[in-house]
Symmetry: D3
Subunit: 256 residues, 6 copies
């Protein structure tokens, strides 16, 4: 049993509040334990210069933390005048992960900006951001599609993420909170799609290593946790959007 | 009557949620109409270099907006690598205003960081930030005082702010929303203390001017609005802290 | 009586040298007591991107100090690689103030750059900058108008600024020098037009507050000082430009 | 068979030139196919502020490319004034990977700087950097150890890295060159230790996904390639340092 | 004869106004033709970190231009957020040149900051800066010496600079104005000491070259011009400081 | 005799490896004693904005050092976020020097980027960069010319550079290594063309001066050294390119 009483394969309580803000095309406040992230999706009717003229869209993400999302106050990156390596890694990860389930041709020459702002942090902020950003994006896509701006709904499948790690007892556990994360020997972030495929796998032993057997244990724990996240996503998105995504996936599987 | 049905001297609906976040010493989600700001107060047991060795504390503020707090997505200042002039002006104003009601000697060599993060903007974000930051700060001060870290409660008086402006009909109105603010000929931010004194007065005619009579009308509207904000602050802070502030003010007035 | 022997309502000696530099379309060395500012006006035959295609002009200002304008040498902002909040506030104020008396339609799609470089500082640098920049701008406008580049002279009225403050004796005084400014409890910058209207009012109590009665005293002192500044401006600009401005104002007042 | 005639499990030709530069404590020119990286190790007799007083050392890495290491000339990051997200990710990866095989207590309060400068790029620059930096570091550590500055040799095990990917034929291949890397559906970087454990696993489907079966194929290909890299490292380091590392690992395994 | 009627070896009119500003320890407005530079010297009772503990002083310079010192308005370096290569070259040159005539041991652990701010530019701004900065520095040194803060006067000799160039007629001319400078095939800046030695020689053919014979012609023209500059410096500094410098030089020559 | 046994007029051993890298249009590894620089030439089929529409080409240079090119590790300029004054001076010098021997009209609207990356430093890195960059540029130009992209070969003459200095014995020596350079009283960089003309002369006395006689001695030493560098350049470039350059020079001399 873990310090907060959870089983190794048990996620923390999850709460998702959709349409959280007034202005964005999609917005969510996702709560995973004590981690809270505001995720918004904004549609920009242009693509970045390197994508112009290809008839395809683009998905990009930005990630930030309020200074006092954490136990100790952090200096704002705007005040420092530059973005840290950690932030860059995370926002590149979020963008790359979300692009893996979007039909960019169907999106057309548009950019979807995903902004993930952590207002309270207790471990797992990057995976909560991916899980929440997916919902904000799916809603924004639905708005475009309902307004007849898209020939078809462009989201190919569900996408969610969680962290797993090897705790002190040498065994895998899912959805680490901050204290577990700090003491874990191995930390792995896993992003998967609704049909059980991997999109990203980032496993790191900080001053430690892990065996093939431990890797298998980690992946199995991740898979279990992510399948529960899909249920939360479906409940939050509602039947209409869930059906749009399922239809799109089935069409793709038919083709393959 | 105004576009949203309000009387000239009527504030928008106000909601204040205290203890909004887990980590900060004080935290508030303040809602003024559709403007929402998370204000936190963080205690740092050091003062900046220019204040060291004087036995006095310091109050400083930072202000930011989520990229999609607004109708159009804004580029993050961290991504630009620098803070805009508007942000600098606002955070200097917030810090200066709050310092006017704090007994910095009583605070001792500590810094209180006030972070105001606008998550949704509809006009009046800087005045909502001041009104909300005051509450977060008063709570953080109470925590220090209750923990016997301070010889006396260091907040001298209540402090709140609102905007007033000259609308198209040439008359003053209080608490402008974004649309009113954009079309107002004159825009003035007023910060006042519980005993009716001014702390800041910033009146600006963007490509326009205003007469002494109009100034009097503006100040009277501001005074009325701010007196209602004090009632909200007292309700949010509760009886204990309200009494601490009132006692401190009375002691000061006795001295003067 | 004040430390330098002045009456409360007395300005410091003022000297204005026009056509101070060879290259700019308008240039002035303005001296207010020991404060000396070089103000230049430069015409740029383009407007910034956000103004294009509107048929209107733009006025923008930059402000800087020589490193040794002050008692202690200041680090150059170019060496720091960024502009301080104080500088940003001042240059935004100067630009906004000047725009209030310019008919931007009459100016056409042009930008007037106002550069205010303080070569010696003894308090009141921002208000001396506004007062001096007005003269440089009026001259540059006259050059455009005389060269038949403008359909009408585009300056609507005179504009000047001064500081006022509450000194130790609790009473208002005008045109504070550096020592007075440092010890003043309340500091207010006032920008007014030739017809007695306000353009900007920025009153600040640094760790202090002020009453409505004190505000009235401050505004009255400001009004007296600014009316004398207008006389200096008229003398410096000469009869031809003074008449152009007066005619333009009268035409506007006729319309209103 | 692959475009350049290699088998799926075949590495490109590898050449390692040690003591490549005169000044650094360790230096290597590593050539993997047409990818060439200069790796140097520099000893700094201090640790960064966050590590002071813990009696432990630190390993940190920096990565860069010459502007013309690539087909198209790249703008220098020094000219841009900031480091790209890609560079940050890579240098964080290199540092983290190397730290996993160093006994930081045995190193004492010292920093080892690993500089990886790509002079010619043809895919796999980050994995060649890790493989080469390990050699430079092991040599620098040997210099410290031989000079009696360390109580014991601080490198716990060999460490090397390669890339693997899913090519168009849906099967895994090792050590992708630039053309293969650009067209691969899935790209994975694997860092392993001499005793067969994982240190880092970063698998990414850019606009694609991968199954559990494909993951197993990728890992098996990586393992085969990395075991050959260890032979190159041993040959380059020579018998003395190879023995030091083997002894250190055996001692650790004895303890565990 | 030259475009402005000067002989090849003739300087433009020179005017030097000492004690130009109130705050600095030394200050000068130097006018060379239409080039005007404010040079100030500021004493800082510390040396930069790399000089600490050596018992020696340091001389450093900064150079800048007002935006409208030139025909076309220049963007401020503070607004760009970085200093251009041209400015860096010039300020390094000024500092290096001035250090060549200062006895840094006699100065003690102090820094002299030389600020050269060009308020009007018409060619030769860097050489006018050196010639003017020397005067400001000599005065600041005299202030230190007169206040008994220095064991001896630390300026070893006079120092002045001018530009020379090869004009269209293939012959050398001294003290080029902006138009001459723009069309000169070769441009050379020469810094010399009172006893006729060189301190700096920077000759450049922009898309052109020059022969040994032309070099001799250039140096002879420079020598003639600089000897006249020394007379202006002596007149500006007055007899007392001139004698201090002469005495110091004679003492050095006696030693050598 | 010098510390490393050389005569005053003797260069260090020189080695030039052409076609050093795979991607650039021209590339060289030049070794002068222990100084090693990779010089590459890259053709860009555009010119910078200020050159557009003139029918002329442009030559520009960038210079950098690997962090461990030196005895002590240097901080990367990319990590600092800005380029030092020294680097700017050097890259401006390299570009200017190379432009002096290129017929920019014959080059057409193209830019040649010269990248000089010092991988090992032992004095004279800027002069080795010029000498090596000339070779890389001449090869890249030959590639353009052979591909019929140019009407004529655009390099007007050979160009090489060396340093000279006044050593402790008060006499001139050529090609200073790092130790000589550090202790030299006067340091001069000389860039010359194949027909014996000067392109750049930068002589500097750091806290010292030099006489006209010493200048003559320095120039004579430089001339001797540079004439030997031309032989190395001709051997490296081969007969075809050497003939192209000689023909171009003779044609120019015929015209003159």
């Amino acid at each position: 049993m873990r310090a907060d009483g959870r089983e190794p394969e048990q996620l923390r309580p999850i709460h998702i509040e959709t349409d959280y803000l007034k202005h964005p095309e999609g917005s969510v406040l996702i709560t995973v334990g004590d981690t809270k992230v505001i995720c918004t999706a904004s549609i920009d009717e242009r693509v970045p210069p390197f994508m112009r003229g290809q008839g395809k869209g683009w998905i990009t993400a930005e990630y930030s933390m309020l200074p006092r999302a954490t136990e100790q106050r952090n200096i704002r990156e705007a005040a420092k005048g530059k973005i840290t390596g950690r932030t860059m890694e995370i926002q590149r990860l979020i963008g790359r992960a979300l692009r893996a389930v979007v039909d960019l041709e169907a999106l057309g020459e548009r950019t979807v900006w995903l902004d993930c702002d952590v207002i309270q942090a207790d471990g797992g902020t990057r995976t909560a951001s991916i899980t929440g950003a997916f919902i904000a994006m799916a809603q924004a896509m639905d708005k475009l599609y309902s307004n007849k701006k898209l020939p078809q709904y462009p989201v190919n499948d569900f996408l969610a993420a969680t962290s797993v790690g090897i705790l002190d007892n040498k065994h895998a556990a899912v959805d680490l909170n901050y204290i577990e994360d700090s003491s874990a020997q191995v930390d792995m972030n896993v992003v998967m799609t609704g049909n059980g495929e991997f999109v990203e796998l980032q496993g790191t032993g900080e001053e430690a290593t892990f065996s093939y057997t431990q890797l298998q244990e980690l992946l199995s724990a991740a898979q279990g946790g992510i399948s529960k996240l899909f249920e939360h996503q479906k409940a939050a998105l509602g039947e209409k959007i869930t059906t749009s995504i399922n239809n799109k996936r089935e069409k793709l599987e038919g083709k393959a």
